[in-house]
Amino acid sequence: MRPVVAFLVALALASAQAALLRWVGGGAFSLALALPVVVYLGLHAGNVDGAVGSAAVGYVVDLMCAGPKGLMTFLAVALFLFSRLAGAALAVQGRIGFALLSGVGTFLYGVLSLLFTRAVTPAETAPGLSLVGRIAVEALLTALASPLVLALMRRLDAVFAREEPGLLR
């Protein structure tokens, strides 16, 4: 269930983000609201559920970015693993910890996507490193907005969570 919920939430967030950015800033800056969903999966989902859900979210980001398919899916699964490792090593707790991890994850995600795109694109169409500044702004804004995504995912988890039957049932 979790992967399906993550996919639908990512689709809704990506669409909402596109529509809202048309009214706020007109595209002068960007957001990546789907990525905190991956971070959430990394911190709270199981290995299989989380990896499949992250791949589904990455597929949505792939569709929205309209570039060659696969890169965003790969990076989403990589972000899932990064979040899992960070969660295990640093005990990320609360909204601030989640926002920090989302910001750092979004920044690394953006920089890696830039580097991978540069690796396979002819020099004349390769994205310039000057875009790192825009990616940093995107990461900052995503970090600021990520507590809302955290609240949404917690609420959805509460709705869809199933209690496992215990020994006394």
Binding site: S15, A16, R22, S30, G67, T73, L81, L114, P127
Partner: protein, 308 residues
């Protein structure tokens, strides 16, 4: 082997989800492919959400300016002041409607400059100027309105981009600022030829293949040359800034500031006819103005109008 597979099945699945998409990416990067049917179905689902949010935001803004702000004014002012506030609000609304009419008139007058081309008006409903991906905006017209890939998209004062992907009721426009976007241009003053390519930043493009011997100076206006088979000739594209002419080499380098500010787009025109109509035929400009909450300016009788 089965025991190992069972033991490490989670690890194998995660590794597959990591490596599989990467392989797909490198394959697609070398041989780009069209969107699959599943991709298109999913993207169609995003259209209503974007339109719905646009409708809600517009409604909330209308509600705010029409009611909440007025109630605030009621609390603050006496009767005459309240009336003044109402009149001021009306004046602002009229100014907003007039500004919208001016923009739509400009689009219509552009359509009349090219009477042998069919154009469709559209409203921008989504923006995706993502530094990681393509620079796209979504418009509220699609295949059902006759839009196809590669059709040029303009505003009254210049080039915006071209249609990148089409859904039944929406379309994605690849902006001039995208790094994959290249437009053949001429310097309006000296007629020197070059290309303008996006950089990924909304407010900056760069000039390519401009011969070092060509006559161009900072501030020169670049217009479409019509030789790229996408854009009609003579449309303003941008203005040269930061010209760098090295002591040697074949080409000179320059930055280009696009004429159309893609971060402030509201309505655009899409040229839907690829070829010129016959000279003898009467001018038939089919203008489909974008859906407007505030109403539209009167449209000349020579134009066939399909309002949504």
């Amino acid at each position: 082997v089965v025991g190992l597979l069972k033991r490490y099945r989670e690890l194998i699945l995660v590794a597959f989800l990591l490596v599989g998409p990467l392989g797909v990416y490198f394959a697609h990067a070398k041989h780009p492919s069209e969107r699959s049917r599943l991709d298109r179905v999913i993207l169609v689902a995003t259209g209503p959400i974007e339109k719905g949010i646009g409708w809600a935001v517009r409604g909330a803004l209308n509600g705010w300016y029409g009611y909440v702000a007025l109630r605030h004014a009621h609390e603050r002012a006496a009767e005459l002041e309240r009336r003044a506030e109402l009149l001021e609000l009306d004046r602002l609304e009229l100014a907003s409607v007039r500004a919208e009419n001016d923009r739509l008139r400009a689009l219509l007058s552009f359509a009349h400059v090219y009477p042998d081309r069919r154009v469709v008006g559209a409203r921008v409903v989504g923006v995706r100027l993502d530094p990681k991906g393509l620079q796209l905006v979504t418009i509220d017209r699609g295949a059902a309105d006759g839009l196809e890939r590669m059709m040029p998209v303009l505003v009254a004062h210049g080039v915006v981009g071209r249609i990148h992907a089409v859904n039944p009721s929406t379309a994605d426009v690849l902006l001039l600022s995208d790094r994959n976007s290249s437009v053949a241009v001429r310097v309006e003053r000296s007629r020197a030829r070059a290309n303008v390519r996006g950089t990924g930043s909304p407010d900056l493009a760069r000039l390519e293949y401009a011969l070092r011997s060509d006559d161009m100076v900072e501030g020169d206006v670049l217009v479409t040359s019509g030789t790229d088979g996408v854009f009609p000739r003579g449309l303003p594209v941008g203005r040269i800034v930061g010209l760098k002419r090295a002591g040697q080499g074949l080409y000179q380098r320059a930055d280009v500031k696009p004429i159309a500010d893609v971060t402030k787009l509201e309505e655009v025109l899409v040229i839907t006819s690829h070829e010129r109509a016959e000279e003898a035929a009467p001018a038939q400009a089919t203008v489909v103005p974008p859906a407007s909450p505030g109403g539209l300016a009167p449209i000349p009788a020579s134009a066939t109008v399909k309002a949504r």
